[in-house]
């Protein structure tokens, strides 16, 4: 298999997809660089799966242009696009053996059976399933089925590989493992990969870039780091990781920084182009430290709920700003409900966002 030689870019230009009255995707434009892994992330019904299916050719756009590489594919059916997909349910053909499944793409394109099967054997070995070819899909475990689905998708050396929530049918432990395997495979083959998920942790873990979608539109595009540290709006802030959203006020601007008043506490934060006046502040739960001593420039609060979760503690704290959700990794300092605490905001994980 030639690494990276087949990878192509994917480009959407003002793509609209409507099902009757319902608009599933509205004026979508983006470019996916060759060889990168991009995740479409969003809550259910946001249009991410429709977008994936538009790339695959399983849905036809109502208007707009779709390009794979330099070639326009807007009107091409799925069978004529150089794209493979790994389905959420794996979609292994239950009446064919594992080997026949993997060889399917080659056989329907007219390759002689012996040759197709030989190639399929190699492909199975690549995903660590050597010797499983004669079995039926139903005789494999969920993780093995998943690898068969990947092998079947890869055998055509597609320009673009699509994953539709590939981990959702696996149990939590296996998920992390398979996630890594997918990443490694993608990097070693250098394939352009589009990955759909609603799980933000999964998205952060695998992606080069993430496209966050909401209500049929793109909410924000960026690297995992950008999205987490600089969410464009409250939706993204809340969707990528948790966030406490409180109201603050920008008092003054000072270069790239703004002087912000958050419930009486004054902080200097990047203003990100926001004008003076009322503003929303997204505070990550792990960016809040609780202290039983009195601390300067902090809010005072009362613990209303405390939950022990082994690796960390979760608190709800009543403050003048409202109830805040706090994650504390210092497990030994358990503060029972009713404790009065000082609430200190860390330097990172506190972001100004436009109030929506």
């Amino acid at each position: 298999m030639m690494a990276g030689s087949t990878a192509a870019s994917v480009r959407f230009q003002d793509v609209v997809k409507a099902f009757g009255e319902v608009v599933a995707v509205r004026d979508l434009s983006f470019t996916i660089e060759p060889g990168s892994l991009v995740t479409l992330l969003g809550p259910s019904g946001c249009g991410k799966t429709t977008t994936l299916r538009l790339i695959a050719g399983l849905e036809m756009s109502t208007s707009g242009k779709i390009l794979i590489g330099e070639r326009e594919v807007t009107k091409l059916p799925a069978s004529e696009r150089d794209v493979s997909m790994v389905f959420q349910s794996y979609a292994l053909f239950p009446h064919m053996t594992v080997l026949e499944n993997v060889a399917y793409g080659l056989s329907v394109s007219g390759m002689p059976k012996a040759e197709a099967h030989a190639k399929a054997e190699q492909q199975l070995a690549l995903v660590g399933l050597k010797g499983f070819g004669a079995r039926l899909p139903s005789e494999l475990s969920g993780g093995q089925q998943q690898r068969v689905a990947v092998a079947r998708a890869l055998i055509l050396e597609p320009q673009v590989l699509l994953f539709d929530e590939p981990l959702s049918n696996l149990d939590a432990k296996l998920r992390r493992h398979v996630r890594q395997e997918i990443c490694e495979l993608q990097q070693s083959l250098g394939l352009t990969t589009v990955y759909v998920t609603h799980d933000q942790e999964e998205a952060l873990a695998v992606s080069d870039r993430i496209i966050v979608m909401r209500n049929a539109e793109i909410a924000q595009t960026g690297t995992p780091h950008e999205l987490y540290e600089e969410p464009a709006d409250l939706f993204v802030a809340d969707f990528i990781g948790d966030a406490n959203v409180v109201t603050g006020e920008i008092k003054a601007l000072d270069g790239a920084l703004a002087v912000v008043d958050i419930g009486g506490v004054e902080r200097r934060l990047p203003h990100r182009g926001l004008p003076p006046g009322e503003v929303d502040v997204a505070i990550r739960p792990e960016a809040i430290h609780l202290s039983r001593e009195r601390v300067d420039n902090s809010l005072s609060g009362t613990v209303s709920k405390a939950t022990y979760l082994g690796s960390h503690l979760e608190y709800s704290v009543e403050t003048p700003l409202g109830e805040l959700f706090v994650i504390d990794h210092r497990v030994d300092g358990f503060a029972p409900p009713g404790t009065t605490v000082s609430v200190v905001m860390a330097d990172r994980g506190v972001t100004l966002v436009e109030s929506g």
């Binding site: 695959a56 050719g57 399983l58 036809m60 009107k75 059916p77 799925a78 069978s79 004529e80 696009r81 794209v83 493979s84 997909m85 389905f87 959420q88 349910s89 979609a91 292994l92 053909f93 239950p94 009446h95 399917y104 793409g105 329907v108 394109s109 039926l136 899909p137 139903s138 005789e139 079947r152 998708a153 055509l156 699509l162």
Partner: protein
């Protein structure tokens, strides 16, 4: 260059320039025409007809068929490609149809045309091979053009399939029905006579209510309706009793129950009526016994309402059972368990939870019984006596002494209105609710057992009924070996010999029995129509389940419509529509095959829809993204997974073709007599012995066919998943 365009272009030109354009007199498979071909005016292809025989009106067809040659070099995305195909296909279809209807066996068919163009001085017959091919070519030009415009993801195969199904349904369901409607507003000399239509429609023999006031019989419409309501209610109650016993009691012989309910499906409907006569008729076994034991004078009480009702109940209870067992099993045990943990006893649980949940199923079963009873022809024919129902009246309006086509058409419209209203009500109120399916999530609970009084009630009704059914079938199986039922109960093989004797003659075996002719015809027609029915049905199901397109609801309605059309109505529609050009096929075997295919198509569609909805669509999509076109996907992925549905569709269409009588009785001819109509003829001559012997042979043949098809198509190979399915079935007991 598109291969499919080249293909259809070639097909079209073969049809136009090589094969005879007009139908061959002596049947579709007769090749005697090769003799005078191609010069003879009856057998010449359209091109020669147009150039050499003065049939100039065929020449524009050639023009339309020449047009697509010009776009062979163009790409699919070229706007001209779609435009030329659309125009050639659209014009070709419209023109070929128009000339077919405009010029018939008497020259111009319409006076307006005659006065415009003058006398034609020529005529034409029904269309034949050539025309069929040319029609096919035009149709697929049209669909290819539509696909090139981007419809349904530009999928040529799918658009073509939709076009094909629409064309077939239009020709063989809507066209005959339209002919009935036209016929109804004409007098018997084909003059427009709306006043006569209203006189006939509101006449006393249809709507009279004399039976309420005097000792006279009511109108046929009321008779039919009354009977249908009685049968619908009765079969529903009985079906429910069986379904409850089969799913919610520890009854040991459940398997036997299932067998008993399959039997009537493979029984020609009127055979049950026949058996009822043999038991309860004037010289029937029961009547004779009653006379002997209690000196009760035998009478003809069974002929009329009681007899028809009894026979239809026996025939249609299994249908209600099949509907209801699905519904009763589909109710999640968790619902009942929830009610019981909330302190409801089993009776209250049944009344307040289970029964309301079954309501859609009960309504469905009722409507099916209602429709079946209205449509039934065989039992009223055999047992009707003085009790007239619509289906019989229609028949006698056509074949009887009155020979009143328009009266038959009016009666057909009344009957059609009844069944369509019931069908509409079923779809409107119940929609798809009744397709209760077992969800993927395991319902681990068990159905509760029936409350005591209900159990007694169910056993009390169902078991005697099962016993009666068993007696009926014994009568059918043994009746053929009895010399003369009711008079002389001596054992004889006379009836079997008369029907099925084989002697050796000078040239080997001679099939000298009286039944062989109709027997072989029936087998042949059923064997030809079964795969066609399954094919059309499954293709339609694939389109309905897997494709989205504008007008899909109308498409679905059209394909399921024939389910609601009683056979007698279809029969009369076929006679009216296909007795004259352009489609002139009465008296042939083709019309029988076509009739079966389109009457039984909904069975195939339903089987296909049910099976296909269980196959995850992502399997198709996976195949598409791996580079397989939709036809390859259908062939390699969908069809192999559909094997059980294929078996079901094949079995049902085969069996229904062998047992059908209502439409068939209009369409049989001397050359193509069917078993059922032959048997019915025997019954009318009171030759019960031969009739019953022949019927039992038919039942056995159908049993063998079912087993054979089951073996031939085989089981689906799914490994563990298959095993789980069997496990499921086992655990519901």
């Amino acid at each position: 260059m598109r291969r499919s365009v080249v293909l259809w272009l070639a097909v079209g030109w073969v049809g136009l320039a090589v094969l005879p354009w007009y139908a061959i007199e002596d049947g579709f498979w007769n090749f005697a025409w090769l003799d005078g071909y191609p010069v003879d005016g009856d057998f010449a292809p359209a091109l020669l007809q147009g150039l050499g025989h003065g049939r100039w009106w065929l020449l524009p067809v050639c023009l339309a068929l020449a047009a697509p040659v010009g776009i062979l070099g163009r790409r699919k995305t070229d706007p001209w490609f779609a435009a030329v195909l659309l125009m050639a296909g659209g014009f070709g279809l419209a023109y070929t149809l128009a000339q077919g209807f405009a010029i018939g066996i008497r020259g111009w068919e319409f006076e307006a045309l005659e006065s415009t163009f003058g006398e034609l001085g020529d005529r034409q017959f029904g269309m034949g091979y050539g025309a069929v091919l040319v029609f096919g070519a035009f149709l697929f030009f049209l669909t290819e053009g539509i696909a090139a415009r981007g419809a349904i993801k530009g999928d040529v195969f799918v658009v073509g399939s939709i076009g094909l199904v629409i064309a077939l349904v239009a020709a063989f369901i809507f066209f005959p029905i339209t002919r009935i409607l036209i016929s109804a507003v004409q007098d018997n000399d084909e003059n427009f006579a709306p006043a006569l239509f209203f006189t006939k429609l509101f006449s006393g023999d249809i709507w009279g209510l004399e039976c309420l006031t005097a000792n006279l019989s009511c109108g046929v419409a009321w008779n039919s309706l009354f009977m249908a309501i009685l049968v619908g209610a009765g079969t529903t109650a009985m079906g429910l009793a069986f379904a409850l016993i089969a799913t919610r009691t520890g009854f040991r012989a459940k398997k036997l129950l299932r067998v008993l309910t399959v039997l009537p499906i493979i029984t020609p409907p009127f055979v049950i009526g026949l058996a009822v006569i043999l038991l309860f008729g004037r010289s029937g076994a029961v009547s004779t016994f009653l006379e002997w034991a209690f000196a009760i004078e035998p009478s003809r009480w069974i002929y009329g309402l009681p007899g028809i009702w009894l026979a239809q109940m026996l025939a249609f209870t299994p249908i209600a059972f099949l509907v209801l067992i699905g519904v009763v099993e589909g109710i999640s045990p968790a619902m009942e368990e929830a009610a019981i943990t909330l302190r409801a006893d089993t009776w209250r649980t049944f009344v307040t939870v289970s029964l309301p949940l079954m309501r859609p199923g009960l309504a469905n079963a009722f409507l099916l019984g209602f429709i079946e009873s209205l449509a039934d022809f065989g039992n009223p024919m055999v047992l009707g006596g003085d009790y007239d129902v619509l289906s019989i009246e229609i028949f006698f309006a056509i074949v009887g002494a009155q020979h009143d086509q328009s009266r038959a058409a009016v009666l057909a419209i009344v009957l059609l209105a009844f069944t369509l209203s019931a069908f509409y009500a079923q779809r409107r109120w119940l929609g798809r609710k009744s397709y209760a399916t077992i969800s993927g999530k395991g319902d681990s609970g068990l159905h509760m057992h029936l409350p005591r009084r209900l159990k007694i009630l169910s056993y009390g009704t169902a078991l005697p009924w099962a016993a009666l059914t068993a007696v009926i079938y014994c009568t059918i199986m043994f009746g053929g070996f009895v010399e003369s039922w009711g008079r002389d109960h001596g054992f004889t093989l006379r009836h079997y010999l008369e029907a099925f004797s084989v002697t050796t003659g000078a040239h080997g075996l001679v099939w000298s029995g009286a039944a062989w002719n109709s027997f072989w015809t029936t087998l042949e027609i059923a064997a030809i129509s079964a795969p066609l029915t399954a094919g059309v049905g499954l293709l339609t199901a694939y389109i309905l389940v897997r494709q989205r397109f504008v007008g899909k609801d109308a498409f679905e309605f059209g394909t399921m419509l024939s389910f609601a059309i009683p056979g007698t109505v279809i029969g009369i529609g076929y006679i009216l529509a296909f007795n004259v050009p352009p489609i002139e096929i009465t008296g042939t075997g083709v019309i029988l095959v076509i009739c079966f295919v389109f009457r039984n198509m909904p069975v195939g569609v339903r089987a296909g829809i049910a099976a296909m909805s269980q196959i995850d669509q992502s399997l198709d999509e996976a195949s598409l993204t791996l580079g397989a076109r939709s036809f390859t996907t259908l062939r390699k992925v969908v069809l192999p997974l559909l094997r059980p549905a294929i078996v079901a569709a094949l079995v049902f269409s085969f069996v229904r073709a062998m047992t059908a009588i209502s439409a068939v009785i209009f369409l049989v001819s001397a050359n193509y007599d069917m078993a059922t109509s032959y048997i019915l003829g025997r019954v009318e001559n009171s030759d019960f012995g031969l009739a019953i012997a022949y019927s039992s042979v038919l039942i056995l043949v159908m049993l063998c066919a079912i087993v054979l098809i089951q073996v031939a198509v085989g089981q689906r190979r799914l490994g563990r998943r298959g095993a789980q399915q069997f496990g499921l079935e086992g655990s519901t007991g």
